[in-house]
Each structure stands twice: as structure tokens, then as C-alpha cells.
């Protein structure tokens, strides 16, 4: 995939994943895991025993469902069983980008990632090569984080706040075949 230029660095932070090193573990997933990953991305049961309900539907035990989800979470395939919130309903967020010389990119990226307000931070193939999302309780704090990142890193931060959202999030069909 994309980042063939990235190399393994023993000094890299733990949070940094080299996308080329992360091998898809699609082939090692069990049928139950595939089903849990694909079929329960929305409308999760709001009953006292959601995992037992899913187990019943799939003809397995509750313990198997809980075990599979725990395993998927440990593996990193599942980020969480949880809520995806509509942007800017709770707190405010923006996408932002910086153009950083390659030699400085890791340092700048670490500075950005260290903010708890930053929840995504990627290198992308462009002159504007560092892209991240900042989410804060209010716009004053959001602006403060953007200003601080710019001041401390020495690079201009371009904010790209969301103006209109066209996507209806129904989850993502993994098309297991």
C-alpha cells in the first residue's frame, strides 16, 4: 500500500503505526468474528443483555460473543462497541493540516498527537502532509489548541472545519467473500 517510504523505526512512539507494517489479519478471523464485525455496526441491541441477544441470533453462547469481541478489541480490529456521534453536536471539531519537511515530520507529528484533543493524526501524500482532527469542548479551546500547535511546531496550521456533511453513516460493508 501507500507508504513504502516509511521504514521501521525502533525509536518511533508506540502510537505510531507504520501502515505498511500492519498486515491485514482478515484471513485469521473466525466466522463469528467476521459476522460480529460486519453485521452489528449499527442498531446494536438496546436490551439488558445485548450480547446474549446477539448470541441467540447467531446460535452461539453469550460467552463466545463476549470472548470474540474482547479478542477483536485486543487485536485492534474493533475500536469499541459504541456510539458514533454527529459532528459538532457534542463539542466542536475540525480537520487541520500542516506542511512539514520530511525530516521534521515525526517530531511535529508527536507534538500534535500528544494533545488529548487530537483523535486522528495521519501522514498523507501531499505537500500538506500532516492531517489531524481536533475535538474540544468549545471553540475557544479548539482555537487555542490550533494556535499552540502552530506556535510550538513553527508551522502554519490550516483549519478545515466541516461546513456540510453529506454522508449517512450506516457502517461499512466489509464484503467478506
Amino acid at each position: 500500500m501507500a507508504g513504502s517510504s516509511a521504514t521501521r523505526r525502533s525509536t518511533g512512539t508506540k502510537k505510531q503505526d507504520d501502515m505498511t507494517d500492519m498486515q491485514a489479519n482478515e484471513t485469521t478471523l473466525s466466522d463469528l468474528e467476521r459476522c460480529l464485525l460486519n453485521d452489528f455496526q449499527r442498531d446494536f441491541p438496546l436490551s439488558p443483555t445485548p450480547y446474549a441477544d446477539i448470541a441467540h441470533k447467531l446460535g452461539v453462547s453469550e460467552a463466545e460473543v463476549l470472548g470474540a469481541l474482547t479478542h477483536l478489541k485486543q487485536q485492534g480490529a474493533v475500536s469499541r462497541v459504541g456510539a458514533v456521534l454527529r459532528p459538532n453536536t457534542v463539542g466542536v471539531s475540525t480537520l487541520a493540516a500542516m506542511a512539514v519537511p520530511n525530516a521534521e515530520l515525526e517530531t511535529a507529528a508527536a507534538l500534535v498527537s500528544a494533545y488529548p484533543e487530537v483523535n486522528h493524526n495521519y501522514e498523507r501524500e501531499h505537500r500538506l502532509n500532516l492531517w489531524f482532527v481536533v475535538t474540544a469542548p468549545d471553540s475557544a479551546r479548539l482555537q487555542q489548541v490550533l494556535n499552540e500547535i502552530s506556535t510550538r511546531s513553527g508551522y502554519a496550521v490550516l483549519p478545515f472545519p466541516l461546513l456540510e456533511d453529506y454522508h449517512i453513516d450506516l457502517g461499512f460493508d466489509l464484503k467478506w467473500t
Binding site: A2, G3, S5, K15, Q16, D17, M22, A24, N25, E26, L36, F40, Q41, R42, L46, S47, P50, Y51, L66, T70, K73, G76, A77, V78, S79, R80, V81, G82, A83, L85, R86, N88, T89, V90, G91, A109, V112, S113, V118, N119, N121, Y122, E123, R124, E125, H126, W131, F132, L158, F160, L162, L163, E164, D165, Y166, H167, I168, D169, F172, L174
Partner: protein, 181 residues
């Protein structure tokens, strides 16, 4: 004219309990037999109230989707591109809706231009198993939406420095929610 679902900035008022519940759930529903009861015990709410509030938050659109949140990269979708277009302002909504109809699109937003450095105002995210898959899906989509002549750039991701759920309330993101390494 149909309502654009996300333009209403009349953010539905969330009470303090909603906020605490959303904060508690950001790290994920507990993986125990009675997860809503456990959340309730943490927050001083009954199991029934937790379920009712989560239902209401979904109905009101605060929660867009409630379920398993998958990391695409870890399940075989190793290629991810942000595609950006320079679209005449009057056409952004129509084209945004066209793009968001494809099932390989996971985000589709209008964002401001930053002239002169950045001319693009329409963004989408495409996930694919390979770079070639992403590019062929992109070509298919561009043709279907009639966007062949519109300037665009494809920004594939390289390194992922951080990926976790947002911390909306000033709390530290939950342990274990930071990208898979």
C-alpha cells in the same frame, strides 16, 4: 426542498446526564453480560434509564450510529485515500450527495477553501483493500457522478500517528483506544 441533515446547527440540548452518559460510553460499551446496568452503576442511573437515554439520543440524531466500530485498516482495508475536489459552490451539495451514495465512501464533507494554497472544497474518504482498488473505485465514481472535468487530488495515507475516539469532554481518551500498535 429537502432538509440537509447536518446543516441544522440548532444542537439539540443535552442535559448533564446525557453528557455524562456520552462521555462514559466514548471508551466503549463494557463487554460484560449487563453492560447498560454497569454503565448505570457508574453514573448513578438505572439500567432502564441508560437504555432509554441511548435510544433517545439515537432518535434525536446525536448518536448517528450505535454498534461495533471497526478499524478498517486492521480488517483488510489497508488503503485509504482522502480525495479532494474543487467544485463550483453551487454544485457542492448535489455532487456531495452523489459521492456519498457509494458504499466504499466513509465520509463526505464540504469544507472551506484556503486560497491561494488550497482550492478544494469537497472531501471524501475512500477505503479499499489495495491502492488499485481505491483508484478504480474512484474512477468509477467520478464517471457516475459526472465529475471528470473537476480538478481533484488523491491523498493516500502513509503513517498513522494516532487514531482513537474523540475526547469530547476534556477527559483523556480511554486506555486501549489508541491506534492498534
Amino acid at each position: 426542498m429537502s432538509l440537509a441533515p447536518q446543516t441544522g446547527r440548532t444542537s439539540p440540548l443535552l442535559d448533564e446526564t446525557d453528557r455524562r452518559l456520552l462521555a462514559a460510553i466514548q471508551s466503549g460499551l463494557p463487554l460484560v453480560p449487563r453492560p447498560y446496568a454497569e454503565l448505570g452503576a457508574r453514573l448513578g442511573l438505572s439500567e432502564v434509564e441508560v437504555m432509554a437515554r441511548l435510544q433517545q439520543l439515537q432518535t434525536r440524531g446525536v448518536i448517528r450510529r450505535f454498534g461495533v466500530v471497526v478499524r478498517h485498516h486492521e480488517v483488510g482495508y489497508g488503503a485509504n485515500a482522502m480525495v479532494v475536489w474543487d467544485v463550483p459552490d453551487a454544485q457542492v451539495r448535489e455532487l456531495g450527495r452523489c459521492l456519498s451514495g457509494f458504499d466504499f465512501i466513509t465520509l463526505c464533507y464540504r469544507r472551506p477553501r484556503h486560497l491561494p494554497q488550497w482550492r478544494y472544497n469537497l472531501y471524501c474518504m475512500i477505503h479499499g483493500k489495495t491502492r488499485e482498488d481505491v483508484l478504480s473505485n474512484l474512477e468509477w465514481m467520478v464517471n457516475r457522478c459526472g465529475m471528470q472535468s473537476l480538478p481533484h487530488e488523491v491523498l493516500f495515507s502513509r503513517r498513522r500517528f494516532k487514531q482513537c475516539g474523540a475526547a469530547y469532554f476534556g477527559e483523556t481518551p480511554a486506555a486501549g483506544s489508541v491506534g492498534g500498535g
